[in-house]
Amino acid sequence: MIEFFRKLFAPTNSSQTAKERLRLVLMTDHLSLAPDMIEQMKRDFIDVIAKYVEVDRDKIEINFEQQDKALAMLANVPILAVNRNGGGGDGGKKREEPATVEAAAATGSTGSTATPALPRRRRRKKSAPPAVAPSNASPAPAG
């Protein structure tokens, strides 16, 4: 409802639109201008995931994408194995097929009512089990 009114009145305030567009475009600019930082962030990110599950480092894909109201980091992390005591909860069930973690971290969406930037699930293997979205890396509503 709030969203409806926000949208209804949005077109009159073009400076707000300008601000939003500017914020997003600059984030994208700054990312592309800091390749070293991005690489370091990717490495750190993978290291964190690897603390919990065994990942296929060579097949990891991390991309940035400008979405409607946010800049999203989309990560596709093939998982080779889950520790017996890992946080996955399914108690060391061994899988043949690597599972895939798709994490999306969206930056700075406007206000709390804004539509959460849902990761478009790309390249998900049909045979793969449902993707696990780590709660600390996704703004998507839980459940």
Binding site: S14, Q16, A18, K19, R21, L26, D29
Partner: protein, 280 residues
């Protein structure tokens, strides 16, 4: 024994170390040349000696805005090439003798400028003027590099538009910390800002986060002053002239209040006028 007095040339003063400031923006047409001309006049009006360099080689404009086009005989490239002496290439302003211009070459290319020679020239001019102000061309290529190479301070001009802010952001990134860039927001329309139809100075600077040097309104009279070749800073009164003088005072290190924006309704038609001040 007595020294022979040299001819009264524009660079007659003895060695000093003036400030070299580049006026840049990235995006074209946001008001770099207009700003350069007006700040040149405003600084000269304070009694400072000021040299303006038009570094927009190939698209010479500054002489027109200053109304000096008929006086220009030689240009920046002649000096850099060594075919003409600096003193012979420099043109003195009609209104204020402490303001001089080194015009750009209209029929040459930006890449004909030798970066090292440009740097040396600005260095040399700083010994004779309190301020050397360089009007930078649009873009971030060679012309930009040559314009900034001799400067040690930068003023970035930005209009309240997404593209202009983005380009200034890029330019500031390229300049790095060395130039301590300061911001002038140009062509602001306070009435539109109030209606939510234009980015405000705060919106712009929430992103750029630069020291705010001043704000210049979108001023229809600037067209008239450009037509005449008499920058608006020459006028005795008016909010825009005052705003340029306030910026000059701030550049000179005076404690100037932050630029204020007032929306004033005047006349029966509720005409909206903008007041900018702070130099009081």
């Amino acid at each position: 024994m007595h020294e022979v007095q040299p001819e009264p040339v524009p660079v007659a003063e003895k060695a000093k170390r003036g400030r070299a400031i580049v006026i840049t923006s990235g995006k074209g047409g946001v008001g770099k040349t207009t700003t350069t001309a007006n700040l040149g006049h405003a600084l000269a009006a304070r009694g400072c000696s000021v040299a303006l360099i038009d570094a927009d080689v190939g698209l010479r404009n500054l002489d027109i805005v200053l109304g000096l086009e008929s006086r220009v005989k030689h240009n920046l490239l002649d000096v850099l090439d060594g075919t003409v002496e600096l003193d012979d290439a420099i043109v003195r302003d009609k209104h204020n003798a402490s303001l001089v211009l080194l015009a750009a070459a209209q029929t040459r290319e930006k890449d004909e400028v030798d970066t090292e020679k440009m740097k040396a020239l600005v260095e040399r001019m700083r010994e004779h003027y309190d301020y050397v102000i360089i009007d930078c061309p649009a873009g971030i290529e060679g012309g930009f590099k040559n314009a900034v190479v001799g400067a040690d301070e930068a003023i970035v001009v930005c209009t309240p538009e997404v593209s202009a802010v983005r380009d200034v952001d890029r330019v500031v990134g390229l300049l790095g910390n060395k130039f301590r860039p300061q911001l002038i927001v140009n062509r602001l329309r306070p009435a539109l800002v109030k209606k939510g139809k234009m980015l405000s100075v705060e919106d712009v600077n929430a992103i750029l986060r630069l020291p705010l040097l001043g704000v210049i309104a979108d001023e229809p009279e600037i067209i008239v002053t450009t037509n005449r070749g008499e920058p608006i800073a020459l006028r005795k009164d008016g909010a825009t002239a005052a705003a340029y003088h306030a910026i000059a005072a701030k550049i000179a290190g005076e404690d100037v209040a932050a630029p204020t924006v007032e929306i004033k309704e005047t006349g029966f038609f509720g005409r909206l006028g903008a007041m900018f001040g702070g130099a009081k």
